[in-house]
């Protein structure tokens, strides 16, 4: 038996000579996919708490009409940093962490294909975010132009810290691209003999497609921030109308990155949930092939719908119609996925442990987010919804119970494999119900606020919006504080508890359950045979 690794870096114990190095060098120099996965997950959770704290500031200010806690200038920094940190710091690294841990275990590979690059792509991230967060303490404050950083608000009118923000984005992009190359190289080259593409677990499939999306669009993001950099520091006029530039060009380039980006944040969650629902339904996933094709279709469509974020920008009507139709089309493959999940549950033999609870909530609430997405796709109606709280409700419904519940479900599902211990099921269920209630309380009233006419990104609002804002803030505080419970559950699980079997879930399938729990430091040194 190899050494046991521990997700908690303070208390790793080991009793084997071929185990990891000791002390901080283990973490700094490691090329082990499990160590790097762990670091990604810890980093992501740290960022989740930081971005969440900013959300708490936002909701505290919006608790009542009037300005109480922060000034509008700081409020805008909070909304901007909250968005950036959650997207680039919490959700994306969490999925990369899951990919690092699970893809080699799921395809029977000994490690990621490019382990040294793997180390590098992680360690860029703390530097990038240290730089981003440091802008809060700079003269003129942090970026205050929203996570979408529309020019010219972010160029001619941006704070001096914008250049640092651009550099941070560049570093995050490099990290993501390297991570994506690694995932592709691993999946295409290191599968165990007999594991054909159409035998791969769906989590691996969705990550393969996500990685291609990342490689396609992160350079576009790098391009757009470089144009900003030139406008700010080198006198160009890409986005400056006074110099012959085009502020709308910014939005086209940004959303050409931005729309695939939202699928980058959700597709791996689709994959994880497609592992978990069959496991706890004790029944094979319904429509495996159509699931794969649906993910592929969603990924392709994601490249031709970007301008639905810009329906009010004054596009020609032919453009509006094209983007409206393409956007509506996405509902078809997304619907197929939801129907398949429901059909998997149908006539299964279900139990409701924490991973399953989070997955079921994922299906229900993500579908609600999908419905509001379909409503937003109707271009004429979007003229009323655009840039209101209805949009805020929509994307939080697909990101919180979508991406984040997907991550929680994955964490509970694989924690026994990572730590060798079972987590505390009662506490985990408490975490689920508190999160579920808090999240709905926080975000459902936002639909009403948006339809009643409340614009997004405002620090103060008219009196008719007061009641629902208060409800929303209470829900947000509840959701936010509950996440400390998750930290406690994970730490408790890492320190000990009921020992987990190699396959702790009786309905689970896949190569990761053929290795002992916790997974040895080195696994599949000889590839397994897949029939």
């Amino acid at each position: 038996m190899s050494a046991v690794i521990d997700t908690h870096d303070h208390s790793h114990d080991q009793d084997h000579h071929h185990g990891p190095a000791k002390g901080f060098k283990r973490w700094l120099l490691t090329t082990n996919h499990k160590d790097i996965g762990t670091m990604y997950l810890i980093f992501s959770f740290t960022m989740f708490l930081l971005g969440g704290t900013m959300a708490m500031v936002i909701r505290a200010e919006l608790f009542q009409p009037g300005l109480q806690i922060v000034e509008p200038a700081f409020f805008n920094q909070m909304t901007t940093m909250h968005g950036l940190i959650m997207v680039f710091g919490a959700v994306m690294p969490a999925f990369v962490g899951l990919a690092n841990w699970m893809i080699p275990l799921m395809i029977g590979a000994p490690d990621m294909a490019l382990p040294r690059m793997n180390n590098w792509s992680f360690w860029i991230l703390p530097a990038a975010f240290a730089l981003l967060v440091s802008t809060l303490f700079m003269s003129g404050g942090a970026p205050n132009f929203g996570w979408t950083f529309y020019a010219p608000l972010s160029t001619t009118y941006g704070p001096p810290s914008t250049t640092f923000f651009i550099f941070a984005i560049h570093m995050m992009g490099i990290s993501s691209i390297m991570g994506a190359i690694n995932v592709i190289a691993t999946i295409l080259n290191l599968r165990a003999p007999g594991m054909t593409l159409m035998k791969m677990p769906l989590f691996v499939w969705t990550w393969l497609i996500t990685a291609f999306l990342l490689i396609a669009v992160m350079p576009v993001l790098a391009g757009v921030v470089t144009m900003m950099l030139m406008d700010i520091n080198f006198g160009t006029s890409f986005f400056n109308a006074a110099g012959g530039g085009d502020p709308v060009l910014f939005q086209h380039v940004f959303w050409f990155f931005g729309h695939p980006e939202v699928y980058i944040m959700i597709l791996p969650a689709f994959g994880a949930v497609s592992e978990i629902i069959p496991a706890f339904s004790r029944k094979r996933l319904f429509g495996y092939a159509s699931m794969v094709y649906a993910v592929g279709a969603i990924a392709l469509l994601s490249f031709v719908v970007w301008a639905h974020h810009m329906f009010t920008v004054g596009m020609p009507v032919a453009g509006e119609i094209f983007f409206m139709y393409c956007t509506m089309l996405i509902a078809v493959p997304t619907g197929v996925k939801v129907f398949n999940w429901v059909a998997t549950m149908f006539r299964g033999s279900m139990t409701f442990e924490a991973p399953m609870l989070f997955s079921i909530a994922f299906v229900i609430l993500f579908t609600i987010g999908g419905f509001s997405g379909l409503m937003l796709a109707i271009a004429p109606a979007d003229f009323q919804y655009h840039d209101t709280y209805f949009v805020v409700a929509h994307f939080h419904y697909v990101l919180v119970p979508g991406a984040i519940f997907g991550i929680f479900a994955s964490a509970y599902y694989w924690l026994p494999k990572w730590t060798g211990n079972m987590y505390d099921e009662t506490l985990a269920k408490t975490h689920f119900w508190m999160s579920f209630i808090g999240m709905n309380l926080a975000f459902f009233p936002m639909h009403f606020l948006g339809l009643a006419g409340m614009p997004r990104r405002i620090p103060d609002y008219a009196l008719q919006f007061a009641d629902f804002n208060m409800v929303s803030s209470i829900g947000a505080f509840m959701f936010g504080s509950t996440q400390l419970l998750f930290l406690f559950i994970v730490v408790k699980c890492a320190r000990g508890g009921e020992k987990a079997a190699a396959k702790p879930w009786d309905g689970a399938e896949g190569l990761e359950w053929t290795v002992p729990s916790p997974a040895p430091y080195h696994t599949f040194s000889t590839p397994p045979e897949v029939k």
Partner: protein, 375 residues
Amino acid sequence: MRKKALRVGSLMAGLTLSQLALADWEVNMTPGVTGVSRDIFGLHMTIFWICVAIGIVVFGVMFWSIFAHRKSRGYKPANFHEHTWVEILWTIIPLAILVVMAIPATITLLDMYNTDESEVDIKVTGYQWKWRYDFINEEFGYFSTLSTPRDEIYNRAEKNENYLLEVDKPLVLPVGRKVRFLMTANDVIHSWWVPALGVKKDAIPGFINETWTRIDEPGIYRGQCTELCGKDHGFMPIVVKAVPQDEYDEWVAEQVAMAEKERELTSKDWTLEELMARGEKAYDTTCAACHQQDGSGSPPAFPALKGSAVATGPVDHHMDIVVHGVSGTAMQAFGKQLSEVDLAAIITYERNAWGNDTGEMVTPKQILDYKNAQQ
């Protein structure tokens, strides 16, 4: 119907109870007062009910499975994992629903884009953080800024019913006529939105966007800027006052006369007291958002004027900054935004308020000469 009951209920609560109860529990979009807004409302409700129907079917099956097909009830799992016809069916049915939905949406969209045969043309310009309305055929225009007192925003006074949704001069429009808006912006991107009209369009520097409305009922309709445009994005509301045609004509005539009178004011001889009084008002509406009412500013982005080198130094330099702005900063060029009278009044005010007591006065004529000398 439930919605209507809710609205009546909330309206009564609003009338009888004090501040907080003024807030209602409105949960839906309003149908609005224009043909377009009603079309949009119809589309909104149609797609909403389609979603509800799909939701009932999908969640119904799911909840039933959760209830019936659970291990604790001893249910044994079935073995199926694909079914070609079912899968084809649930690809085609949603597709058909979408096609049905796309048709009315396209028709409404084409109608919204048709700005032909407009009878009134208004240029709407977004500024940080106010709107300007130019009646281009009648040759007058004015700024419309938030009129909610800062005491209400900072909770030092009771908030009034139209808190944050009130302006000093509303946009006045005639009912029953096709009004075309030409949208642009002076600095960053703004977005002009009045929910009751079903009109939202981005105001983009360097671009002119077109949209239109025809209001059916006289009334006051309120909206807000919906594109993040900086610090006071939440404080640049829109108020549209729709009036019958004859009242509108009267108002236009008044505005034209006032604009003429304003031009004459430039040649009038002003006293320091008159300029100070006018300057204080103009300063509060134009400058106080950044430089604060007491001239303390919010450094480093918005420097203090109280005791500043600019406001107590050479007059020419002060005029230059106010008229031409400071490039690369948030300080705009106010030379074209404000009249000579207001520019003179503001500069005079800044040089004498808050203990800046230079005793110097700048007259509208000086500003005019200064501007002419620049050309």
